[in-house]
């Protein structure tokens, strides 16, 4: 059965209008005109249904439904193609210059000296050492006397001490912390003592303030071999497994025997260069077995206990580690230097 002619006319009209709808607004207007709930054309046609004779109603109703279905289908199709066009348009405007610089989060830095301290403390923590700290203004007893520097001994002069007007002094090494630890605690003792130290020295290689880290182990049956093994383990972790370690007998009033510790030069791996004066070695540590007199002064019986101690300059290690040419650069607060360092 053919459609009633009046609906064919509407169909044509819708087709004409639909072909002209090129944007979202026109599509919306079209939808309202034809499918609007109150004034839509399809709605109008359906409302005519009641006025028709009963035998025509069925056919007319079916015809309106067919019109409605095809309008809906066409609108959906139009909607899809409009959406596709819209997406394309929006992604086109999202294009960006991927070569522009990224925005780095501003991260800060720990000081090179702090990074080296952290590393050394972690290594010794693994060997069972804990951190001990102490004051920087010290008295003669803790800085010298208890460490077996006799009064008026040349070894004192070598330390270039800063004195305060009140008679105290700025510690010349972190060894006073060892003394305080031995006085306060009973063996076994394993401590590592980082901190600022002061010597009256100021040139390209020396700063009047610098940093040391010292270690101390006291217990029953501690041997010179233990000192050697501990230092080797330390050097291998701090530098590399390939680094050679050499102990040379030396003299410090607070250890007996004493030894300087050389490592193969990290710059030339031992073949000789300007930094190591062509020796292939670099002196980085002082060490030794704790002098029995020092133990005695701290109330520890040297016939029962032995111990070893060692110390190294942190600033030197930091300079080696980060290739810092001049010790002053460590204390200038220059952010251009400080922010280059990564732990």
């Amino acid at each position: 059965m053919p459609d009633p002619p009046d609906l064919a006319q509407q169909r044509e009209e819708f087709e004409r209008e639909a072909s002209a709808a090129s944007d979202r607004a026109a599509w919306e207007a079209l939808r309202l005109k034809w499918l609007g709930r109150k004034r839509g054309i399809v709605r109008g046609l359906l409302s005519q249904l009641g006025g028709l004779p009963p035998d025509e109603r069925k056919d007319f109703g079916q015809a309106v439904n067919r019109l409605k279905n095809s309008v809906e289908a066409r609108l959906e199709e139009l909607d899809a193609s409009l959406s596709a066009r819209e997406r394309t348009a929006s992604t086109q405007s999202a294009a960006l210059d991927v070569t522009l610089p990224g925005r780095p989060p501003r991260v800060g830095t720990a000081h090179p000296v702090s990074l080296v301290v952290r590393e050394i403390v972690e290594i010794f923590a693994g060997l069972g050492f804990s951190v001990a700290e102490g004051p920087e203004v010290e008295d003669d007893f803790h800085n010298f006397e208890a460490l077996n520097f006799p009064p008026d001994h040349p070894a004192r002069e070598e330390q270039d001490t800063f004195f305060l007007r009140d008679g105290r002094l700025l510690r010349t090494h972190t060894s006073p912390v060892q003394i305080r630890t031995m006085v306060d605690r009973d063996p076994p003792i394993r401590v590592i003592c980082p901190g600022r130290v002061y010597r009256k020295d100021n040139d390209l290689r020396h700063s009047p303030m610098f940093h040391q880290i010292e270690g101390l182990a006291v217990g029953k049956g501690i041997t010179f071999g233990d000192l050697k093994g501990t230092l080797e383990a330390f050097v291998h972790r701090l530098f590399s497994e390939e680094t050679g370690v050499r102990l040379r007998p030396s003299y410090f009033p607070f250890t007996e025997p004493s030894a300087e510790v050389d490592i193969t030069c990290p710059f030339c791996s031992g073949s000789g260069c300007r930094v190591c004066s062509d020796t292939g070695w670099m002196e980085i540590l002082g060490s030794g077995m704790v002098n029995p007199r020092v133990l005695e002064r701290c109330g520890i019986d040297p016939s029962v206990y032995t111990g070893f101690a060692f110390g190294l300059g942190i600033d030197r290690v930091a300079m080696i580690r980060f290739g810092i040419p001049n010790i002053r650069l460590l204390f200038d607060s220059d952010e251009r230097v400080l922010r280059q360092v990564r732990g």
Binding site: L100, R106, V107, G108, T109, A110, V113, S114, V121, A125, L127, G128, S130, V131, E133, P135, E136, V137, D152, F162, L164, D166, L170, P188, R190, R196, Y198, P208, M209, A217, G219, I222, T223, F224, G225, D226, K228, G229, T230, A233, R246, L247, Y251, E256, P257, A259, E260, S277, N291, P292, R293, E296, P302, F308, F331, D332, S333, D334, E335, L338
Partner: protein, 685 residues
């Protein structure tokens, strides 16, 4: 200290290669630090540590070489004296007034000499060790100094008035013109050699000009004495002098070498300058020098070293080094050991006067070489104590500050006078002053970290930095009592470009960093406005730390905008004591609400005089039942806001834990809150 290989070879057979010699000495504690080949000779530098005065001579080094390489040391030939007298001879007399300062004085007279130039071999020897040739007599004394290590002095015997030597303390006001032509004013700390009238030499330091050996000298008195190290040291210090002689005496010379060295010099003078040795040698020695002794066992040595050493090695090497070993009764491998006189100052004794065994262990180990000792790790019982709290706290704070974008700096702990009084600081009392500062710039211990941080900020800004963000951990120093473990922070300037969505660092960036640190340690900070030195009025506050469950908040520091005309950008700085921060437990995690809340903003126009803290207190007081949270989200002054007022935008969040609130409920509660706030604070409303 410089040595000559060919000179050394006069006393002991050396290894073929110089390298073997250098390695041997270095391995035994006499570090060879450089060498020069000069003609047939090798001149080498040895780092002689201050305990080894015995090695400041060629014979001393030869003894070490002999022990290391199993060689016998040839001693020089000495003339035989006729009679040794204890106080006088045919020339005159020697008197020691201070036997503590001068335990021994040997005087040898050579008569009828002719002073002239030295033969080439002697000049060459001295030149090798860097000593200038003067005349044959002086050169001989210097030669013996470098041969035996015993400082000698030659007097023109005829210029000593009264044919007399007196060793005594200098008198107050006494003066002496020394060999170098300087007039020295003396004090009693200085030990002098006097003739019958006045001081003629500084004992152990330098001779006097008027009694020195000169061209016309016919009779020479050779002084070879032992002076107490401390006495020489105090004298040299009082005169600010340091000579080859004082260097050796201060480190301890060999009291037994006096006579040998004097005879050696006398023999050489007779050979080179003619003349005759006075057969009567004077050797004044008021007290007996007690030997230095101790004991040790092979077992003790092996346990100490962690390696086994043979008995024969011990006996052989200690013997060659001059130690006298005597087996202890009933024990085959333990000895009583007498220390050679040239090492007596190096070997320390226990309270009973016996040398500690560790000193003997050292001798054996340095002869073996430390390479021989195997590497082990200490077997210490007991659990590890863990890292200290203060260290961990500082590490955590350091990480946090770095994560916040700040760079750590380290600056000197000392500064100029008053540099730190610019700020309140965290250390109270007058500053500690150095007695021997390098310069005025570094003369006082800092009581505040801020002066150096401000300097650091300016350093960066002057070099074109757009912003600074620095922190430092350090001690600050009160007049008495414990040093304060402090943290200083400074920041300011424009951080980042417009592309990086830059921002101007201000007070609240600093405050935020400090608050975050406190929160990490389970505490909260309170900021009380305060007038503080060095900070611009109205921008400064004291910082108090409040810990949950603790009593009153404690003051821990301060912050504010630095009053610094040199800076192109506003700088904000603060300083806190970190021991108060502790390592508190962080807040427990609470589960987020299951029903999302509703956020409502309110912009309140109120007087600039009304502090945010006042608003916050009011909100807490009024707190509607369902208000879960509120936050200041914006502040605005300017167009559209009346003068003296500010727009504060607050974001409120409402919610219930068991259901979603309806918009009506929120509107009703928020409406009441907003109305109450506006009634109390709204300006011109």
């Amino acid at each position: 200290m410089r040595f000559s290989r060919s000179w050394l070879a006069e006393y002991v057979t050396l290894p073929e290669s110089f390298e073997a010699l250098a390695n041997g000495l270095t391995g035994a504690g006499l570090a060879v630090e450089g060498s020069d080949h000069v003609g047939d000779d090798v001149l080498f530098e040895v780092d002689v540590t201050s305990n080894r005065a015995d090695c400041m001579s060629h014979l001393g080094i030869a003894r070490e070489v002999g022990a290391l390489f199993g060689q016998t040391v040839e001693q020089p030939d000495l003339p035989t004296p006729g009679v040794i007298r204890i106080d006088a001879n045919s020339w005159g007399s020697i008197e020691i007034e201070d036997p503590v300062g001068c335990p021994r004085y040997v005087g040898v007279v050579v008569r009828g000499i002719r002073v002239g130039t030295s033969p080439d071999w002697l000049k060459a020897r001295l030149e090798a060790v860097g000593v200038r040739s003067i005349n044959n007599v002086v050169d001989v004394t210097n030669f013996v100094l470098w041969e035996y290590g015993q400082p000698l002095h030659g007097f023109d015997a005829d210029k000593l008035r009264g044919q007399k030597i007196v060793v005594r303390s200098a008198r107050n006001g006494e003066a002496l013109i020394t060999l170098d032509g300087e007039t020295r004013l003396l004090v009693p700390e200085i030990l002098v050699i006097a003739d019958g009238q006045e001081a003629v030499a500084l004992a152990g330091i330098m001779g006097g000009r008027d009694s020195e050996v000169s061209e016309g000298t016919v009779n020479v008195l050779i002084e070879s004495a032992h002076f107490q190290p401390t006495r020489v040291r105090n004298g040299a210090k009082a005169l600010a002098m340091h000579t080859d002689a004082s260097h050796r005496f201060e480190r301890g010379s060999d009291p037994e070498a006096c006579l040998e060295a004097a005879l050696r010099a006398a023999g050489l003078i007779v050979d080179l300058c003619g003349g005759k040795l006075d057969p009567q040698v004077i050797d004044v020695r008021p007290d007996v020098t007690e030997p230095v002794e101790g004991e040790f066992s092979l077992e003790g040595l092996n346990a100490f070293a962690g390696v086994e050493t043979d008995e024969s090695f011990v006996v052989e090497h200690l013997g060659r080094l001059g130690f006298t070993l005597q087996r202890l009764f009933g024990d085959e491998t333990a000895w009583n050991v007498q220390v050679p006189s040239w090492r007596r100052f190096d070997f320390e004794a226990d309270p009973k006067g016996r040398v500690y065994p560790a000193y003997f262990y050292e001798e054996v180990l340095r002869m073996r070489g430390l390479d021989a000792i195997p590497s082990t790790l200490p077997a210490i019982e007991g659990p590890d104590p863990g890292l200290s709290l203060s260290h961990l706290r500082r590490e955590e704070l350091r990480n946090l500050l770095a994560a916040c974008g700040l760079a750590e700096t380290i600056t000197y702990s000392f500064g100029s006078a008053g540099a730190d009084s610019r700020f309140n600081g965290l250390a109270v009392g007058p500053p500690l002053e150095l007695a021997n500062a390098l310069s005025e710039q570094y003369a006082f211990m800092q009581r505040s970290l801020l002066p150096n941080l401000v300097e650091g900020a300016l350093y960066n800004l002057r070099r074109g930095a757009q912003s600074v963000q620095l922190f430092e951990f350090g001690h600050v120093f009160p007049a008495s009592g414990s040093e304060v473990d402090s943290l200083g922070v400074i920041l300011g300037g424009r951080l980042g470009s417009p592309w990086q969505r830059g921002l101007e660092l201000d007070f609240f960036d600093l405050k935020g960093v400090l608050e975050m640190m406190a929160r990490e340690s389970g505490a909260e900070l309170r900021f009380e406005p305060a007038a503080l030195a060095g900070l611009i009025p109205g921008t400064a506050a004291e910082i108090h730390l409040a810990r949950r469950g603790a009593a009153d908040p404690v003051p821990i520091g301060y912050l504010g905008r630095v009053d610094e005309p040199e800076s192109a950008v506003p700088l904000y700085a603060g300083e806190i004591r970190i021991e108060e921060l502790g390592r508190g437990a962080p807040d427990e995690v609470t589960a987020p609400p299951r029903h999302p809340g509703v956020a409502v903003d309110l912009t309140l126009t109120h007087s600039l005089d009304t502090a945010w803290a006042t608003l916050a207190v009011a909100i807490r007081e009024l707190r509607p039942e369902s208000l879960t949270d509120f936050e200041m989200t914006d502040r605005y002054c300017g167009e559209g806001v009346p003068a003296g007022a500010v727009n504060t935008t607050i974001s409120f969040r409402y919610g219930a834990h068991d259901r979603s609130l309806t918009q009506d409920e929120v509107n009703e509660q928020h409406g009441r809150l907003a109305e109450a706030l506006e009634r109390r604070f709204k300006l011109g409303g």
